[in-house]
């Protein structure tokens, strides 16, 4: 069996007395999409932060293609792990193109002197970076918006720009933190297609998402995180059928939930009438 592209072994994270992650293990094979689901506060984003070096795991290792990742976000990105953020974190007063160019940072060579004198080699590098950035913007479907400030983009476009910026780092692994949060069904569908296309370019993907339907339609395998522990891992079918997952999410037996949902629907109708 080939080495997985990304492997988290027994990752734990302790904040003071709070155990946010308890020995989480996750394996991502090349060219796969893995989903990470779980209720609020389960530790999904903390886990992402451990993977990208923003946090140092208290115990455990993170390996990229069998090599341990350095403990610093900048170096992790350079090694080939890129991410997006749950609450969009673009550079708001930079233009769309500049945002993507910042993503190219670790793949560009120009140091302070080259940046000062703008010599021919600098110009070539800069042109290449612009070209690549425009390609990526076209890839995520943001054409002709280069000089727009990113703060002015509609919400869905901001999400896509964040993905383009992450892709600009030429990652082997892309970590998406709730890429469809706040999107309508059409946008969600488009995001799903986009993630499939990203996989086709040879990038492996880990997705955190609350939208179960979206995750099950997208992922090759799904891991369920509950209170910092890995509850279930497996194909979407296995996970969907697992009663523990439903319980973990809703905290009640399914019948009661069904009842609650009906009651809510009834009260909503009343309000309308």
């Amino acid at each position: 069996m080939s080495t997985p592209v990304l492997e988290a072994r027994d990752v734990s994270m302790v904040f003071g007395g709070l155990k946010a992650l308890k020995g989480v293990t996750l394996t991502l094979d090349e060219g796969k999409i893995v989903g990470l689901i779980g209720p609020n506060g389960a530790g999904k984003t903390t886990f992402f932060n451990c993977l990208t070096g923003l946090y140092q795991p208290t115990t455990g290792q993170v390996l990229l293609k069998g090599k341990e990742l350095p403990g610093d976000p900048a170096h992790v990105t350079k090694a080939g792990v890129a991410r997006t953020f749950q609450n969009i974190r673009l550079f708001p007063s930079m233009t769309v193109l500049e945002n993507v160019l910042v993503g190219r940072h670790s793949r560009m060579k120009q140091g302070p002197l080259a940046s000062l004198f703008h010599g021919p080699a600098y110009q070539r590098g800069e042109r290449a970076a612009r070209e690549r950035s425009r390609e990526l913007l076209a890839f995520v479907g943001l054409n002709n918006l280069d000089d727009e400030l990113s703060r002015n983009l509609p919400y869905g476009d901001q999400r896509r720009l964040e993905i383009a910026r992450a892709l600009a780092t030429d990652p082997a692994v892309l970590l998406l933190d709730e890429p469809t949060a706040g999107m309508n069904p059409q946008e969600t569908e488009a995001t799903q297609q986009l993630i499939f296309r990203i996989r086709e370019t040879g990038v492996s993907v880990v997705v955190i998402e609350h939208d179960i339907k979206f995750i099950f339609g997208l992922c090759d395998s799904v891991s369920v995180l509950v209170q910092g522990e890995l509850l279930v891992e497996g194909s979407p079918e296995t996970v969907r059928a697992d009663p523990r997952v439903v319980e973990a999410y809703l905290g009640k037996p399914p019948e009661e939930v069904q009842h609650d949902v009906e009651a809510a629907a009834a009260s909503a109708e009343e309000e309308q009438a």
């Binding site: 976000p73 974190r89 007063s93 000062l116 703008h118 469809t180 999107m183």
Partner: protein, 582 residues
Amino acid sequence: MSTSTVSTPAAAPPVEQRSALAPLGKPFAAVGGVLGIVAALLPWVTFGLKDGNWPDKSTLQFFDAPFAVTGFRWHVLLLGVLILVAAFAPVPSKGRVVRALGWGLAVVSFINGAYITVKGGGLGAITALDGDVAFGSIVGLVGGVLAILAGYGIGIELPGQWKVKLSTPVAYLVLLVSFAAVLYAVAAMLTTGGVGTSNPYAGAIFLSFLGFAGGVLAALSGVGFIRWLSVLSEEHRVFSVIVLAACALLLPFTEAGNEYWMTVAANIGIYAATAIGLNIVVGLAGLLDLGYVAFMGIGALVAANFSGAATAHFGITLPFPVAAVIAGVVAGIFGAIVGSPTLRVRGDYLAIVTLAFGEIFTRSAQNDIGGITNGSNAIPGIPPLSLFGAEFNKSFSIGAVKLPAGVLYYILIVLLVAATMAVFANLKFSRIGRAWIAIREDEDAARAMGIQTGKKKILAFLIGATLAGLAGAVFAHKNGTVSYESFKFMESVTLLAAVILGGMGSIPGAVLGAALLFVLPEKLREFEEYRLMIFGLALIVIMRFRPQGLIPDRHRRAELADEDVGGVPVDEVHEVPKEAKA
């Protein structure tokens, strides 16, 4: 001050802005304009003040020479005519333009009126006294206020957008004329009211001129001319830079070409170069530095000690270029040292670290710690620079044209400022500059993009400090004395104010900010004890009405115009109900 709301189409003024004033817009503007013209021809003072007649023949002169009005009366006349033109000609963003001109008229009238009242000892001076009448300032003020109201009545729209494309020669001509006008305005700003205290009314005349210039500039910006011009100059960047440099070098040939103003302009230039360096740290990388002037002090001290002055300590005399480079390098090293805590501290805490560093520098220099500063005796007698036998502080002539003393320093400093600008511009639009801006915007996201934020922040400090050190080296030779007194906390704050006032991250902004901050106190000398109070008030007013700075960076400028994008505001989209997704 903009009342327009997000997502309103730029073309149609929103209904809610059309207040009760709406039908009165044009009539008010017409009356305001006429009142402005009338005010210009009315007398402004009922008697000769004790310091001499109010300038520009405005004492008791009534319609005597309508074609020979000068000074502030000429400004008032011009504003009145412009208000009339703006009210009836098809002008883009009419309300904004009329309002701006109205403010200009009101400010000019108010300043002159208030000053006459105070100097003349009562309202009698500007109304009627002993059978003489002089209602000029009141009529002007009423006209101004009416025009401001008219502006709101007509409706404050977004500034006009010009799509005019010019062929290259025409564009060059436009740029040439515009920059010549800038040169004229700069010379006028420096010389209005005369040199120093030669004119008892210099301060008031200067403030009045600022009111006029501000009103006209705001109107031009309202019409959309300023933005169009800046886009044009960006398209023809090389040409613009050459013309601007030429204009700067031509300043000695204007009215401002005397020793006094050459010295003031050179001082401004030194602080402008330093402010541009600070702009890298504060404007680009977003690191608040409250002790920045210390780097300039370090550069000045190094240069002074290598200058061969009698009290220098290093015992060797180096030629200025070598000494300047060493000064820059030493300051840069200190910059990196001060910057290193930035790896650990952020925001307010960093500001305190830099504040402490500035204080350490001042105190050690004051007490001659290290034995190279001479403490409070300073290092006097630094020889002036000379090139091919021409001493920089002497006057100098090319053929028959005799240039004022200090002109060579002025030219050196123009070159220094130009070089600093080039460094800033090249860095800003590079991989490094983008990394700095990314750090400023969101440090964690920047790290997640592969930027080694610690190294980049230290680099910002290093480069900023090097530029300050170079400026300090020039400062040492130009002033002839280096004392710790010139590099105190107050100077750091003034530099920071110059950067923020001009517009963070913007090059012309830093120059303009430095110019205002170092010219205003000079110009306001006659107000004596009120000088710094007026200065402080002026800063408050500017920051209240133009928080993004006088000449904001392109990005910040765009921020104000984000209404025309037509995108849905982000905050609204966040509220998608959860059920819609499932």
